[in-house]
């Protein structure tokens, strides 16, 4: 092995700035996409547990489409194809009008993709609740919406905290795909440092450590949340 070590590169400008700006973009993409994934995923997951066959079918179709096309292909569809399918003016606006089109494309792509996965978790969480809860709620006169609002959702969201944490970490890692359409997030920045300085080992080590640190913080924080919101006797701590 013939390699010139230079760990100092990591605290040299502009490279140190690149790494932190990369981390910032990674977090921004991941958190913005998570907002979409969580809300849309919840709606679709709930749709799949309703009585209306049409709503169930729409939910199921959504999940199958987004789960069975590689995320990178979806990224290209959103970036290159989606603006072409819109009416001309709207297409131009998406391509040039909005600020940071790459960022928004990445956010929408990751959000809609992860929504299909979140939907499956939400559905599983609701279906895991015994039928008796639903029947009892109906029997005391709650409307279907109230059954979800006051009985099913409060229980299911608590039980699916561990898989939802995994989904968030998934979106956090998958945000690296945004580099393929030109978002300079963490992985892209370290790759750029490697190309400029040939110090790939140091650059990739920095990225790896940052990814691990964020993963660790999220897991630590979510474990505390899980503990805090657990209902004694209903949700069991540590059951994964």
């Amino acid at each position: 092995m013939n390699y010139n070590w230079n760990w100092g590169i990591l605290i040299t400008e502009p490279y140190m700035g690149w790494i932190f700006s990369g981390l910032g973009w990674t977090l921004l993409v991941a958190i913005s996409a998570w907002v979409i994934a969580f809300t849309l995923g919840s709606v679709i997951g709930i749709m799949r547990t309703l009585d209306q066959p049409i709503l169930r079918a729409i939910g199921a179709t959504y999940v199958e489409i987004f789960r069975n096309i590689p995320l990178l292909v979806q990224m290209f569809l959103w970036y290159f194809i989606f603006p072409e399918l819109l009416p001309e003016e709207a297409g131009l606006w998406v391509k040039r009008g909005i600020p940071m089109p790459e960022f928004w494309t990445a956010v929408i792509c990751l959000g809609t993709y992860t929504a299909s996965r979140v939907a499956e978790q939400v559905r599983a969480g609701i279906n895991a609740i015994s039928q008796g809860q639903r029947q009892a709620a109906r029997a005391i006169g709650l409307s279907p919406a109230q059954v979800y609002r006051y009985v099913l959702l409060p229980i299911s969201y608590r039980t699916i905290i561990p898989p939802m944490t995994s989904e968030f970490l998934g979106i956090f890692k998958n945000s690296s795909l945004a580099l393929t359409i030109g978002v300079l997030e963490l992985t892209a920045q370290t790759r750029q440092i490697e190309e400029y300085t040939f110090q790939g080992f140091e650059a990739f080590t920095a990225a790896t450590i940052l990814y691990i640190i964020v993963t660790f913080i999220v897991m630590f924080f979510m474990a505390r949340v899980e503990k805090k919101v657990s209902i004694p006797g209903v949700t069991s701590i540590g059951a994964k």
Partner: protein, 219 residues
């Protein structure tokens, strides 16, 4: 626009796309094979009573599971030539990356599968005088594999989709070949929608057969 969709472009591209698809299949197949072998070893190490061994395996799994696959690909694309001492080409670097990365996920699936076999089974095997190896080989693993087969297959579909990430190092897989023609002929819509449809049909049909299998398997 949709009214200009030119099927002829897609038809002319089929031989080149097929070349790419073959590489995608080859990479998927080799990474599954390598990942399974390494994954079994890791799972056994993780469940081992030898503390340092299980700690090492757990660290391996957590390490790879907290990294994005693209970063792993960059890592090995950069590292493998240094380790081997000469340029080896993108394919082998990427294959190493996928194998090591998938092994971490396979390990977790198999660990869950092995733990799903009731304790009494292994104890009964011990009571019959089977060695650890025999116990694993004849009692625990056959049942564990039955439990985890659907999840392993689902992971294979995910891996099949993930191989598209070789795009970042420009390996000529299905997606990259489509992109080459798309930019050469300026036919992005035709080529990218073809890629999406082909992936969708392949993955959906495989997922549906896994579900059928799962129904047959479940007791």
């Amino acid at each position: 626009m949709l009214e200009n969709f030119d099927f002829q472009v897609v038809i002319d591209a089929i031989p080149f796309l097929w070349e790419g698809l073959k590489l995608t299949f080859l990479l998927t197949f080799l990474a599954i094979a390598g990942g399974l072998i390494l994954g079994v070893l890791l799972a056994l190490a993780r469940l081992s009573h030898i503390k340092p061994l299980s700690f090492l395996a757990a660290s391996y799994v957590n390490f790879f599971r907290s990294m994005p696959l693209i970063l792993v690909i960059f890592w090995f694309y950069f590292l493998v030539p240094y380790i081997v001492g000469r340029p080896v080409g993108g394919f082998y670097s990427v294959l190493v990356a996928f194998t090591l990365f998938e092994a971490a996920y396979y390990c977790e699936i198999m660990r869950a599968g092995i733990q799903s076999v009731r304790k009494g089974q292994a104890q009964a095997g011990q009571a019959l005088g089977l060695t650890y190896k025999q116990n694993m080989q004849y009692v625990v693993l056959p049942q564990a594999f039955r439990n985890m087969t659907p999840i392993l297959l689902t992971q294979a579909v995910i891996l099949f989709q993930d191989t598209s990430l070789v795009y970042v190092v420009g390996l000529h897989d299905f997606l990259v070949n489509a992109e080459i023609i798309a930019s050469r002929d300026n036919r992005l819509i035709e080529l990218f929608s073809t890629v999406a449809v082909v992936y969708f049909v392949l993955c959906l049909s495989f997922s549906l057969s896994i579900r059928t299998l799962q129904r047959k398997f479940s007791v």
